[in-house]
């Protein structure tokens, strides 16, 4: 069957089962809501839902997460435009011009542009993903052995460490702590207990679900407690006005450029959608003849940022599904969903669970389309829901996390581990470390050590064996160059002044 037939088959499977439809709609609305509510994010929702995906099929679990991913990235744009509070880091550049547009009485047009461009960027990216993932997976089956996978893990971690935290060093320390947490438990070759401190609980390793819940959901509550966020906003009067066709055509180059930038940033591990949004915005400024208009309410700023961040979502699924390697926090959680169903993402998924892949692809396509519909019909409802004070939301999130951590194995120590991870996450976040980096290290650590051991056994413990494998060598060189560039940047490049995101004055556009 060709890709189009597979897509149709996936669509039929998705919409022929009422439970699937319910999960799809739940993911669309939940992602959008949690993306929009300041103080929580789609990652918070994903962390809370992760343990409960054990009750769903693998297909439904992955589909739910991928749908939340698409709509969550859009959801954060609403508060970025209306209140200058980006719902997620990937929406921060949207606020640079979106909020001034609101102050200029053009909130409807800014939200309309965000709706249209998010949908457009997401749909195009999903179509490319559908066309590209299967061939890449086919190629990976024959081309990727343990040395290549280890090299890819190394490259992925190098990129993630270099761009994920306040400084390069904090990025690396975040990743390394994640790798160290992954070491706890039995070693993958000899089954020897490591760092178990004579506690039977630690023999199986630190479970990733309480850890993820703690780092994302619980630490977020603690951060909000420190900010004393009350969560009640004076919502401005809002209508959604789609930009006219002529306005969109006038920005066609910005849209195409942002799709390309977003897609390539999305493929790279690390903070794909965030990097995509910033690069999309920066390039828009760089190519513009009227640079001075950016930051004062220019429609192109919103278009560039929102197109790029949604274009990254489809791309981020390619390394996950084709190679089995997550590139960010949400895709790392998807690996968790796979593992809970005794599956491993990677090229073999296309052979063993082709149905799953195409249902997920179809769901992502329609989730991006639904941004148009729901963005048009439901934005006002979302604004009203944003009035829920955070003091009422916080206990609900903490209790949902508690039940989620406990439900996995029925151990109260999992709840304690989760809240401890929350406290650790809180202290690390306020010091500029990257929580996503820790989780990426935790998830990739086990894969990395296992493939390193297999690779070294294959290569008879000769590191020079990597020189005979061009893909592995290329990836290792790319990783070393990334590292070298970051170290050079950390010591020798003069950095810019800190930005003022979130304040009333948008930061000056660089470029």
């Amino acid at each position: 069957m060709n890709a189009f037939d597979n897509f149709l088959q996936g669509t039929v499977t998705l919409f022929s089962d009422p439970i699937n439809i319910l999960i799809f709609l739940g993911g669309v609305i939940g992602g959008m809501l949690f993306g929009a509510i300041p103080g929580v994010s789609m990652l918070t929702l994903a962390a809370i839902l992760l343990p409960f995906t054990a009750h769903l099929s693998a297909e439904q679990g992955i589909m739910l997460f991928s749908v939340m991913y698409c709509t969550g990235v859009y959801g954060g744009a609403i508060t970025a435009i209306l209140f200058n509070i980006p719902g997620a880091p990937e929406n921060a550049p949207t606020a640079f011009d979106g909020y001034p547009m609101t102050k200029n009485g053009q909130a409807g047009k800014a939200v309309g542009a965000a709706v249209m461009c998010s949908a457009l960027g997401g749909v195009v990216s999903t179509i490319i993903m559908m066309a590209a993932t299967a061939p890449i997976a086919d190629w990976a089956i024959s081309a990727f052995g343990p040395p290549e996978i280890f090299a890819l893990v190394f490259f992925g971690l190098a990129v993630a460490a270099s761009v994920g935290a306040k400084t390069f060093w904090k990025g690396w320390l975040s990743i390394l702590i994640g790798l160290m947490i992954a070491v706890v438990g039995l070693d993958p070759v000899g089954g020897i207990e490591r760092y178990d401190f004579d506690m039977p609980y630690l023999l199986a390793g630190i479970h990733f679900i309480p850890t993820i819940l703690g780092f994302f959901a619980v630490s977020e509550i603690f951060v909000q407690a420190e900010k004393k966020v009350r969560g009640s906003y004076e919502a401005p009067k809002l209508s959604v006005d789609f930009p006219s066709l002529s306005e969109l055509i006038a920005h066609k180059f910005a849209v195409i450029r942002s799709i390309v930038i977003g897609f390539f940033c999305g493929i790279l591990p690390g903070i794909g959608a965030t990097l995509a949004a910033f690069m999309g915005y920066n390039e828009a400024v760089r190519w513009s003849k009227n640079k001075e208009e950016f930051g004062k309410g220019k429609l192109e700023g919103v278009i560039s940022s929102e197109t790029a961040n949604n274009a990254a979502t489809g791309a981020a699924m390619i390394p996950l599904l084709a190679l089995g390697l997550p590139g960010g926090a949400l895709t790392a959680m998807m690996v968790g969903v796979f593992q809970m169903h005794d599956m491993q993402p990677g090229p073999l998924v296309f052979l063993t669970s082709a149905d799953l892949v195409w249902v997920v692809f179809a769901a992502m396509f329609f989730a991006n389309c639904s941004i148009l519909l729901i963005g048009f019909l439901e934005t006002k409802t979302i604004i009203n829901l944003l009035r829920i004070p955070f003091q009422f939301l916080a206990p609900l999130i903490l209790l949902l996390a508690t039940v989620g951590a406990y439900a996995v194995r029925g151990l109260t120590i999992d709840i304690i581990v989760m809240f401890l991870a929350g406290v650790v996450g809180f202290f690390l976040r306020r010091s500029g470390y990257s929580i996503a980096g820790i989780v990426l290290g935790l998830i990739l650590g086990k894969i990395g050590e296992q493939t390193f051991a297999q690779a070294m056994q294959m290569l008879h413990f000769e590191f020079s064996g990597f020189f005979d494998r061009p893909i592995a060598l290329g990836l290792l060189i790319a990783g070393v160059l990334t590292l070298g560039g970051s170290i050079y940047g950390a010591f020798f490049k003069k950095s810019a002044a800190p930005p003022t995101t979130g304040s009333d004055t948008p930061p000056p556009a660089s470029g």
């Binding site: 921060a92 603690f222 004393k228 903490l398």
Partner: protein
Amino acid sequence: MMGKLRPGHLVEAAFWLGLCIFLYAYSFEFDRDIEIYKYGASGWPRAIILLIAIAAIGQLIHHYVKGDESSSQMISAAVDDGSEEAAHEAHHETVKWYLSTFALLSIPFIYMRVPEWFAGTSEPGDPGLHTWRLIIAAILVAIVVYFIRHHRVRVMLMLPLFFASLLEDFGFYAIAPFFIIGVMYLFGERRAKPMALIMALIFGFMLMMFVNILYVGLPVGNIEPFYSFGSWVVTVLQ
């Protein structure tokens, strides 16, 4: 002499290097050969420890040269969630604040360990241990209530851990309502009626969703009368 270093930077570096020393020393506990793998069980973790030490020293040099400067404007903007700024504005960066926070954070661990010392047993069903747990829990709850008004962030960090440590003995059903009210209070809510209403809504939702529909077996507790209460709730709902 100190460049742009602050005392906090030195504490941060000391923490990472101390952690490396501890982890390296502990790695001798499992430093065993594996026949088919020449790096053994400790090779991989020791490589990570070495990298952590290098990164910690690199960070110290970065702080010495550039202080708290971020690597680039784009990265800083991307990862900034306002938590650093919030900590700074709330003056939650002093040594005194950290010490008092860690002192409060010890409360859940006191509950987990101290009753066993007094009772001289760790047998979960022992009536003497139950009595000591009740006494210690009451004292610790009184301490938390004393601090809750003026040390909101510190108590917020500790309260969920304390709640988790009490779950095994007192059960979810008996203490979750108080936890909900505690969190709302810590987030600044002071009106009794909305607090009672929201508590009932959240607790009711949790019970209906997880106990009644999904049959999740939440902890019912070990100590009477909390155990009987928890079991009664489960019986009624299921």
